[in-house]
Amino acid sequence: MTVLAALQGFDSLMSGDTVVAQNIAFGILALVMIVAALRMVTTSNVVHAALYLVIVLAGVSGIFILLGAEFVGVTQVLVYIGAIVVLFLFGIMLTRGALGEDEEADTEKRRMAVLVGVLVLVVTGGAVLDSFGDAAVNRAAPSLTAEIGDTIFSQYIVPFEAVSVLLLAALIGAIVVARKD
């Protein structure tokens, strides 16, 4: 059983009430995420920005769970909140981490950042709309972790291995760049 089903009681998973509840939960999550995302790019304190990012990522995880993609949602917490944001915070605090406002945060680069942000939105939004259109999400079958594992290691084994090698290359590259000698 998935988190979603466990939270709602499995029998009522398909009923109309659940869809309403899911929509309300989605609305709340989306609102919190939008506010946190806006605050993240407008705040002039780098640590606060990283903490707002935590809220956004937690919201993403919540939406994955709402859609029945439990494994992806939990991975989101483990990888992004538990590792990546922690490394951001660690890096910020080791290097600057001043309390209060940081004047350098507000630079001319802001315009370029807006441009890049809009471009990313257009490209990803276009890609999602192009591939899925208005197809409905399959609510009847929350994905099981074992099935995801089976698919990765049979059907998608080649892309999976390619991504692994790519990540390994990035890792070695990072070490080479960071080494001084």
Binding site: V3, A6, G9
Partner: protein, 345 residues
Amino acid sequence: MNTLTLAVELAHWQQTTIRAVVGLVAVLLPAGTLVYLFLFKMMSFMQSRLGPMEAGPYGSLQLLAEVGKFLQKEDIVPENADRIVFKAAPFVVLVSTFLLVLVIPGGPDLMFIDVDTGIFLALAVSSISVIGILMAGWASASKYSLLGALRATGQLIAYELPLVLAVMGVVIQAGTLNMQGIVMAQAEGEIFGFGGIGSPFIITQFLGFAIFLIAVQAELTQPPFDMPIAESELVTGYLTEYSGMRFLMFFIGEFATAGIFSALAATLFLGGWYVPGLDPTDNLFNVIGPMVLLGKIVLVAFLIFWFRFTYPRFREDQLQTLAWKVLIPLSLANIIATGVLKVVF
């Protein structure tokens, strides 16, 4: 699995309320037990003294006295601190602790949520507490706090890997991430055809159990891994500026997490709520299961606290070396060996 028959059918919100209350008890009761049994009494006996004796019989009410003392203290926020982040930090740590307890089953039908990802979910939410520690250290506007938080983060990142990898062996053997499934796999397992005691994974996964306990010790930032709060160097690290209620929350968080990690170890390696010789689907386990689990928690926690009171502190570089050069390669070898044996047998 038979269904638990209740005299009354409860609505979903009523069940949720009961779960919330039981969850609170499940977090606080083991935490209180561990503090009294080990921190107050066992440590005292190991140091040839009696420990608290005045409050209640054998000082058993000392804990309530301590809580009352902390509640009366002033909640001080340093002048230069980032007030909101400073005040929110203990809550982040506690949220992580309370989410952890959700996956632990107390009997065949006793569980908060029966989720497919089980132990994976627990390991994911346990990593949230790092953010609370970093928030506390940074927002305190004190160099000792910040140093403590940075040390804590470096340590938690390093030891999270062996923690996750040590669990992998159990998951491979049980063939499921679900905690209930892992208990059942141990209850119904056989050792070379002998099913008398089931197959507790501590026997086949002893290396995993040892790595898990060492990593838990480091995750709890307890001695011998207490560099983040090394009181001779850093006052008390990220806790330095906290007082009263908020310090109490960090304190509860630490010992509640110790209790819950003991529960995780008990479930993964000692068979959880199951006692050998009985039918694991028996309704009896819905009654005695939580007590059996508490007994196993105390057993595992005894090991954790024994090491805590016995060994001196690691140096920072020794601590990192142990994680990256010893524990991680060992746990990877354990995974490979388990995988090969799983395929062979």
